[in-house]
Symmetry: C2
Subunit: 343 residues, 2 copies
C-alpha cells in the first residue's frame, strides 16, 4: 500500500484491476464475469447487493441469527423490500427446514439471503440446500461471506450463489476498505432489467460494470492503494492455496478449543457448526468480561471482541483470521487468558 500512486485510468492500474478480478474469481470459486471489489467496506458490499437486486415492493426472505442478518433486513427495507425474517437463536444456524417453512407463506420471493459465517455469534450456516430451495421457488440466492471467504470453504458456483459480498479485513488479511462482490449472470439479468433506477449512484452495477468491464468508462475514482493491498493479499491467499488455508484455520481453531477446554472454557456456538476463524467463548459466571478484554489489550496487545446484542456480556469473540490464524497466536492468547482469569 506504500507503492506510489497511479491514476485510476492508468494502463498500469487497469491491468491490476484485471488481475484482481481474476484472483477474486479463484478465491470465490466462480466464473462470474461481474466479480470485483466495491469501493467501500463490507457493509457497502451488502448494500451493493440489495440496491441492485431489489425494487420497491419485492418480497425477500432473510435468515436472522445475529447482527449481520439483522443488518440485511434493515438494508433491504431501505430498498423498499417486504422482508420476511427467518429467525434462529443467536449462535444457532439457519436450517433449510426453516426456509422451506417461510416459502409456504411467501412462495415467490425475489430473493433469499443468509449470512454464511455470523461474525457476531461464531455459527457457520451450511447453504447448499437453502440455495436449492431458493432456486426452486424462482428466487435469487444472496450470501454474506464477509468472515468466511479465505478462512473456510466458499464455493459460489458449486453452491449456485447468485449474489455474494465479502470484506477484505477478515480471512483475506488485507486492511479494511474494499468489499469483494460477485453477481451471477442471473443476478446481472435482474440488475440490468430493472424497472426503476438503482437508488444508489455510487453502487449502481449498471455504471460500475462499464468501469470494471472492458469499456473503462470513468465512474468514481477507485481507491488505488486499497486495491494494491487487496492484490497482494489475494496473491498470498492463492500462493498458500485455498485448501491449505482452510486446513490451517481448522487446525488452529481446534488447538484453541483444546486449550480453552483445559481452562473449562467452551465455545458456545452450535456444536458441529462452529467457525474456525471466529471463536465465541462463553464468559464464566462472576467474571468481568470487559476487564479481561482490557487487560489483554493493555498487557499483551491482543484485541478480542465483545458479545453483541443478546450475547453482550456473555461471550468473548476470539478471531483467528487469515494471517492471524497461527499456532503462536493461539498459544499467546491462551497464556494471556489464563493470566487474566488467574487459572
Amino acid at each position: 500500500m506504500a507503492r506510489p500512486l497511479v491514476g485510476h485510468m492508468d494502463p498500469a492500474f487497469v491491468s491490476m484491476m484485471e488481475e484482481i478480478k481474476g484472483m477474486l474469481r479463484r478465491v470465490f470459486q466462480t466464473k462470474n464475469d461481474m466479480t470485483f471489489p466495491v469501493s467501500g467496506t463490507g457493509s457497502a458490499g451488502m448494500e451493493f447487493c440489495f440496491v441492485n437486486l431489489i425494487e420497491p415492493g419485492d418480497e425477500v426472505i432473510i435468515g436472522v441469527n445475529g447482527v449481520f442478518g439483522m443488518r440485511m433486513c434493515d438494508v433491504a427495507e431501505r430498498c423498499g423490500a417486504r422482508v420476511t425474517r427467518v429467525e434462529s437463536t443467536w449462535g444457532q444456524i439457519i436450517t433449510p427446514r426453516q426456509i422451506a417453512e417461510a416459502l409456504k407463506t411467501v412462495p415467490r420471493p425475489k430473493l433469499v439471503a443468509v449470512v454464511h459465517a455470523e461474525t457476531s455469534t461464531g455459527a457457520l450456516t451450511p447453504v447448499e440446500d437453502i440455495a436449492r430451495l431458493a432456486h426452486d421457488a424462482g428466487a435469487l440466492f444472496l450470501l454474506d461471506t464477509v468472515t468466511s471467504l479465505g478462512g473456510c470453504p466458499v464455493d459460489i458456483d458449486g453452491w449456485q450463489v447468485d449474489a455474494v459480498y465479502s470484506g477484505t479485513q477478515k480471512c483475506l488479511s488485507a486492511p479494511p476498505g474494499l468489499a469483494p462482490v460477485s453477481l451471477s449472470p442471473r443476478a446481472m439479468q435482474v440488475a440490468t432489467g430493472r424497472k426503476t433506477k438503482v437508488q444508489s449512484w455510487y453502487l449502481d452495477v449498471n455504471l460500475l460494470s462499464s468501469y470494471w468491464g472492458s469499456e473503462r468508462v470513468y465512474h468514481h475514482t477507485a481507491p488505488i492503494s486499497m486495491n494494491y493491498g487487496l492484490h497482494e493479499a489475494l496473491r498470498l491467499v492463492l500462493e498458500e492455496g485455498l485448501e491449505n488455508r482452510w486446513r490451517r484455520h481448522e487446525k488452529n481453531h481446534l488447538l484453541l478449543k483444546g486449550g480453552l477446554a483445559e481452562m473449562n472454557l467452551e465455545i458456545v456456538s452450535q456444536a458441529g457448526h462452529q467457525l474456525w476463524q471466529l471463536n465465541a467463548v462463553g464468559v464464566p459466571a462472576g467474571v468481568d468480561e470487559a476487564a479481561v478484554r482490557k487487560q489483554l489489550l493493555t498487557d499483551s496487545n491482543i484485541e478480542i471482541g465483545a458479545g453483541l446484542g443478546p450475547m453482550k456480556g456473555k461471550i468473548w469473540r476470539i478471531g483467528l483470521m487469515g494471517e492471524t490464524s497461527r499456532e503462536k497466536n493461539v498459544e499467546t492468547v491462551l497464556i494471556a487468558l489464563r493470566k487474566a482469569l488467574k487459572k
Copy 2:
C-alpha cells in the same frame, strides 16, 4: 499507510479519529461538530449529502456547468428529488443571477447545490452570494469542494455552507478512498428530523454520528489505513498553512499559464474564474490530443486528463494539486508538451 493495523474500536484509533475530525474542521474552516471522512471516495461523499438531506418529492436546485453538476442531478433524482437544473456553458461559472431566476420558479426549494471547483472544466464558481440566496429562500446550501479543498480558499462557516463534501486525492494529496464531509447544525436538524429512513444504511448520518461521535457505537469497519493516510495528509496541509498552500497553488498556476502562452496555448475556462489546481488547456486545431497524452505518459511519466462531455477532444486538463503543485512539475510538463507539439 504502511503502519500496522489496529481494530476500528481500538482506543488508539479512536484518538486518531478525533484528531482527524479536528484537523478537517480547520481545513474546512468550520466549527461543525459533524465533520468526518465518509468511508468511500468523493462520489460517496456526494451521495452522503443527498441521501441524508433529501426525501422523496423535495424540490432541489442544482447548478450544472460540468460533469459533477450533472452527477449531482442524477444522485438527487435517485433520492426522489424534483430537480431544477441551472445550466451554464461548460467552462463558465454559475452566477447568483441564474440562481435568483430559478428561485422565481421554485421559490421554496429544500436545497440549492453547486460545484465549487468543476474538475471537468477548470471553472471556480464564487458561492457566497448563492449561499445567501439559498438561505433567503429557506433552503439548505450544499457545496462540492472535491477539487477546491486545500488548493484554494474554502470557508464553510464564513460562506454559511450547510453541507459539503470533498475527496482526499485532490489538493489534500492523500490517496483516494475517503470523502471528508461536514454538515451544519441546520443540516443535521434536517437529517435527524426526517419522516422517512435514509435510503442508504451505509451512509446514514443518524447511524454514523454514533460511531464518529462520543458514543462509539459500532456501525461499519472504518478503513483504518486510509484514515492513517488522511491523518498525515491533513497534518502536512496544516504544517504548511492554508494561506501558504493557496498562494503556492496560485503561483504555480500562473507559471504554467505563462509557459503555455509562450506556446500559444491558452486556458479556456472563463477568465477571472480559472482554477489554480486544474488547468483546462485548449487543444490546438489539427493536434491528436490523445496521442499527446499518451506520449506524455509513456515518455515522461506524466498523466494529464482528457476533456469530458462536450469538451471531449477539445481540452487537456493539467492538474497541479497539493504536493504536485510544484515549480519543478510545471517546468517538466511544459518541456514535455513542447516536445510533443514540436514547438
